[in-house]
């Protein structure tokens, strides 16, 4: 099975760097620790809505671990680089659809990051902040489903960012812009309902809250199942756009002659 091979190669390519990644995990864990400390500090002076201090700490712990699944995917799925090297025409020549090809590879990457980054980071927080594991199995399932959807959306978004590299040499700005949006709109540090109202409105018109905020709410045993429909909606819409873009991209490469 080709797609499985692609994914498992991407997974095992990472295995050789496990040692370095574990050190990197310490740094990642420190970042989440800082954010949690800020909320603990705020919690000393204010009541933190329906979450409470311990709830916000769990919130941060989960988003920090989830980042590795739903946000930190390969920049533009590696398309900008293959455009620079001219590898892209080779990729388009293969008897596999570019979108599914790159997606399979990225799933391998995400699987690795889930096992070697998300889980170790979560385990550290579990003991450092004495987190409680959600008691309701159903919400854990919802959290898992919405997180898988978030990973899928993230792959689509990065595919689109990568595709833009064919038209502009400045596509890395889109990558950074995407990160800025995750910072502000995805509920990375602050729950979406605490954003100023106009920003909340913008956020809910975008897929960003579904990347972190929605899975985290499920994890905390909050939120309603209907949010999964939102995840599904964005997955379908982004898939359609990606397929459309691939067609345009193919024509563009053919015209340019690679």
């Amino acid at each position: 099975m080709l797609y499985f091979t692609l994914a498992s190669k991407a997974y095992s390519r990472n295995l050789q760097y496990r040692g370095a990644h574990m050190i990197h995990n310490i740094a990642s864990a420190v970042f989440g620790f800082l954010y949690a400390c800020i909320w603990i500090g705020l919690g000393a002076d204010y009541t933190l809505g329906e979450y409470g201090t311990q709830g916000m700490v769990s919130y941060i712990a989960f988003t920090q671990a989830a980042l590795w699944v739903s946000s930190f995917v390969t920049n533009g799925l590696g398309i900008p680089q293959s455009v620079r090297t001219g590898h892209i025409s080779l990729d388009l020549m293969r008897p596999v659809h570019l979108f599914t090809h790159l997606m399979a590879r990225e799933w391998g990457q995400i699987a690795y990051q889930f096992l070697y980054k998300s889980i170790p980071i979560y385990v550290v927080y579990y003991f450092a902040f004495s987190l409680t594991f959600p008691s309701q199995l159903s919400f854990l399932v919802y959290a898992g489903l919405s997180l898988a959807g978030a990973a899928y959306m993230s792959i689509c978004i990065n595919y689109l960012i990568g595709a833009s590299a064919l038209w502009t040499t400045e596509s890395s700005w889109l990558y950074w812009g995407n990160h800025a949006m995750i910072n502000l709109l995805a509920g990375f540090f602050i729950p979406v309902e605490w954003l100023p109202e106009w920003l909340q409105n913008i956020a809910w018109l975008s897929p960003y809250p579904y990347l972190l905020y929605v899975p985290t709410r499920f994890y905390l045993g909050l939120g309603s199942v209907s949010a999964l429909w939102g995840t599904l909606f964005w997955c379908v819409l982004l898939t359609a756009v990606c397929l459309l873009v691939t067609g345009v991209l193919r024509r563009k490469v053919e015209v340019q002659g690679g």
Partner: protein, 266 residues
């Protein structure tokens, strides 16, 4: 080679770098503005929280903005002048350090002028935050005009502290070759931590940030005096002392580390 000659050499590098960059003026300026906008999102994220709750441990939005600004500008000054120290890993992996060892000057002084980075985006971002936060506090009568020279002073001492930490971390590369993961902890995470008041953190962590990784002296400790009149004017001497001590220690460590250099194969 004496110091004057080295400075004139460095000046030459800066002039030539700017000249070659200015061939694509429009692109460069646009990119810098975009970088500033995108990076400011990190502050916005915190500003939104402050907007909702009012203060973090009694620190207002302006005060936190000031901590951010001093950190960004100190780091920018360090990275502008000594970016290659941060990128020593590249020299170790490719063996390009060999080339620098054939120069008739100390290796560190040969390394620094390898590249001069123009960080207009960070200057815009940090400068905007500094002007905005100091302006706000001055208008409210919290600080006076003397805060401006004081801020510039701590940006310089801060950049020396950050440089020293960067140099010590890079030196570890003579043993480990890979240093980017360590830099993530000693440079990035530590620098992010002191964008917020140190009272937020557990005792062991704030102690760490004032001793082994003395980033607390970059912005937090001096700000206690500049913004809030706590401690005393001696904080400026303390900042200078922290800068001097960390620089001396990391230079000694560097000199020791370089004797352990094993050129990359071939």
């Amino acid at each position: 080679m004496n110091h004057k000659a080295w400075i004139s050499l460095y000046g030459l590098l800066i002039r030539t770098s700017i000249r070659s960059r200015m061939q694509y003026k429009f692109n460069f300026i646009l990119a810098s503005f975009l970088a500033a906008l995108i990076q400011i999102s990190e502050f916005l994220m915190v500003a939104i929280v402050l907007h909702k709750f009012g203060a973090i441990q009694g620190w207002s939005m302006y005060e936190i903005g000031y901590l951010f600004a001093v950190m960004i500008l100190s780091k920018t000054l360090y990275r502008t002048l000594a970016d290659e120290v941060h990128h020593l890993e590249k020299y170790l992996v490719t063996g390009d350090l060999d080339q620098l060892l054939t120069r008739p000057m100390p290796v560190l002084l040969a390394l620094m002028p390898q590249n001069f980075r123009i960080m207009l985006g960070e200057v815009l971002q940090g400068g905007f935050l500094l002007i905005w936060s100091l302006g706000g506090m001055m208008a409210a009568g919290q600080t006076g005009w003397e805060a401006i020279p004081q801020s510039l002073y701590i940006i310089v001492t801060g950049s020396i502290i950050l440089f020293s930490i960067g140099l010590a971390t890079a030196t570890l590369g003579f043993w480990t070759t890979r240093i980017s993961e360590l830099q993530n902890i000693t440079e990035d995470a530590a620098g992010t931590a002191v964008r917020y008041p140190l009272t937020l953190y557990p005792k062991w962590m704030s102690t760490l940030l004032l001793t082994l990784l003395p980033v607390g002296f970059v912005n937090y400790v001096p700000s206690l005096y500049i913004l809030r009149g706590e401690l005393g004017p001696w904080v400026f001497a303390a900042a200078a002392a922290a800068a001097g001590i960390s620089l001396a220690l990391s230079l000694r460590f560097w000199k020791y580390g370089i004797t352990k250099y094993q050129s990359a194969g071939s």
